[in-house]
Amino acid sequence: MTAPLTIAGRDFASRLILGTGGFTNHEVLASALEASGTQMCTVALRRLDPAARGSILDVLDAAGVEVLPNTAGCYTARDAIITAQLAREAFDTAWIKLEVIGDDRTLLPDGVELLAAAEALVDDGFTVLPYTTDDPILARRLEDVGCAAVMPLGSPIGSGMGIRNPYNISIMIERAGVPVILDAGVGTASDATLAIELGCDAVLCASAISRAHDPAAMARAIRLGVEAGWLARQAGRIPRRRYAEASTPDEGLPVFDTSSQ
């Protein structure tokens, strides 16, 4: 339905990336994966739980989707770099969704640590996709150090508040030479549509799907939302105006008031 998304020279037919956090079990995740049509999913690393049954990797392999490891939970560049190196070892991929957060209440990115980690990881051969604020200047700095994409938040992780500053996202897109992937804040399908209409190249979505009452149905809704946004963007929307513009012509309007003739 959409043209391929290209990140670091690799093509993806789907412009929806799924976060796997928050699903109640692997069966629900599998159904959402199928309904979403995604080709790439994030996973996290945590201490090995010897009691854990079944690996999420089996679910992703069965669905035929790629693994995009993240550095969720890291507060410093140092921790994020080690986590990325562990992920490269664990998953045989040099792709990393880089997250370096500033505090556990807002989960907002720490721009200073993020940029430092991004630069070090690019130098170490990683394909870095940083989760960032909606600051166009920071996005440019991340691109300048060699990030393969930038992933601005629409609003805080899990907040479902949509895109709070579409103007910043638009400015970021105008200036970006790498894909812009809206990451965080999507609450429902229309948020994903808006992101793509604004010009985002893709949407990353976790909580909106995993915490929905019916995750598979929401996965399909957001997939269609992405496609709707893409079609609308290609079609070219009409300009906004303050006053009405009639779509029916005035010409040939019959006159019923005979006193004026």
């Binding site: 976060g19 796997t20 956090g21 928050g22 699903f23 995740l29 994030t42 996973v43 996290a44 690393l45 945590r46 201490r47 090995l48 739980d49 010897p50 009691a51 854990a52 690996s55 999420i56 990797l57 693994v67 995009l68 490891p69 993240n70 969720a72 080690i82 190196q85 562990l86 992920a87 070892e89 664990a90 998953f91 045989d92 969704k97 997250e99 976790a206």
Partner: protein
């Protein structure tokens, strides 16, 4: 002779000469293949070096695996 090392926050007594590979083997249900990685003293130990990397007294070992997230 034994060494005491910390594995994922828990102290463990291991025979002297214990390697990263032997720690992984000792963890019940540890997947052997993809999805597991190890850091010793904050440095990643590549899988190929697990059998030859011996753990010193007091070493801190972190063994991580894939979980849902992001």
């Amino acid at each position: 002779m034994t060494v005491t090392v910390t594995v994922n926050g828990e102290d463990r007594e291991l025979p002297a000469g214990a390697t990263v590979a032997s720690v992984i083997e000792s963890l019940h249900n540890a997947p052997e293949g993809r999805g597991v990685a190890v850091a010793v003293e904050g440095e990643v130990v590549p899988r190929a070096r697990w059998p030859t990397t011996e753990l010193r007294e007091g070493a801190t070992v972190e063994v991580v695996a894939a979980v849902q997230g992001g």
